[in-house]
Amino acid sequence: MKSGSNLERLLRAGHFAVCGEMSPPQSADSSSIAKKCGYFKGYVDAVNLTDNQTAIVRMSSVMSSYYVLQCGVEPIMQMTCRDRNRLAIQSDILGACSAGIKNILCLTGDHMKFGNHPEAKPVFDLDAVQLIQMVKKMRDEKQFLSGDEIKQEPKVFIGGAANPFGEPFEMRVLNLAKKIDAGADFIQTQPVFDLARFQKWMDAVREEGLDKEVFILAGVMPVRSAKALHYMKESVPGMRISDDYIKRMEAITDKEAAMEEGVKIAVEIISEVRQMPGVAGVHIMPVMWESITPRIVEQAGLLPRPELPADEPAVTGLER
């Protein structure tokens, strides 16, 4: 056990994990976090707290993860390389771990050009692979990147992202392999809207045996309208959306009914990826629609969420 986080324990015990996602508030008021925690408690095993997602300023992922923890929900703190250099990242990780945060998702980060401060200086001192390697060094070698000793190492479960839908396809498998080499324990993928492509990627992943070395959680994004799908298809680079889903959503004009269809599609995608060998869980990430999470988890038949006592050693044949 590397971190002892709930997510790690469940995955190692062979359970199919469920993660949620929450964007921190664009305000100095944290009360919305507690409210949103109600959508997650008992429904997901851990919840991602985004780090200035799409380069729009929000409350820091460190503080919001801390608030989530206080509400009794396990956070996955996202950490990007866009806004912090290696010093700042390491100090934030120490702080976060001292507060009891046990999962960190290491990302390169969206470029500022897309956000609300496009004129800012891009930091990108490290990239995601180097960040993963640095966190692993801090945890396993008890050393800062500089080689200086850390008295109390940060015990974290290290995550990385993978995009099975970006180009060039072969590079996407190689990238995953590099993140595993660097020290990733779990991987969250970009949202699946193209099952054939995801299947193809998983086949390639299994062929290299990578699914045995890391826990792969498939991304699932429920959408409320055909417009959202169109937007992603046209304006979000690196996404693939199959026309089937667009047609299905377009066929429905009523707003409420469209939302139902969105839930139905998400549940379908979950049951499809669940069948695929090597998929260890799902990461449900509704954008600004966190309240739908419980219904999706329930309809996908993923309730109740398993609970493991904190100190029970995991019995497993899965050595990852």
Binding site: G109, D127, V129, Q130, G166, E167, L174, N175
Partner: protein, 132 residues
């Protein structure tokens, strides 16, 4: 690297004018040919002789998640994603396995120094010339 080249590098470092000439010579070649960004720790031999530092996110270990279907960069759609180019060239040149190597964080102190002399002086890893 050999003792001779190491001594040569040290000699250059002690003579600022000579060093400036070495940088000039390196840049005169690498800038037009590779559009080198002068990071001082060249990994061109690992990236199919395509400089990854032109990526707006300075990705040295592979593409970000945003490469478009037509191979364009997510940040600047008018350019190709540098990693899309690297991948294509590496495949053509039989250098795909070299992409698998994890590239260390950049030592920012080496910006605008001569990567060639840095190799001679043993400050950075030597290039890997042969094919996979």
């Amino acid at each position: 690297m050999s003792k001779v080249s190491e001594n040569f590098a040290k000699f250059c470092e002690k003579h600022p004018r000579l060093y400036a000439c070495a940088v000039l010579a390196e840049n005169a070649f690498k800038k037009p040919v590779f559009r080198c960004q002068d990071c001082g720790q060249c990994i061109l031999s690992y990236t199919a002789f395509t400089c990854p530092m032109r990526c707006p996110k300075q990705m040295r270990n592979g593409p970000c998640g945003g490469t478009r279907e037509d191979g364009r960069c997510e940040v600047y759609p008018e350019r190709h994603c540098i990693w899309w180019l690297i991948y294509r060239r590496a495949k053509r040149m039989g250098r795909l396995k070299k992409l698998r190597r994890i590239q260390k964080p950049v030592d920012r102190r080496l910006q605008h120094t001569s990567a060639w002399l840095n190799v001679f002086a043993g400050k950075i890893d030597p290039p890997s010339w042969g094919k996979d």
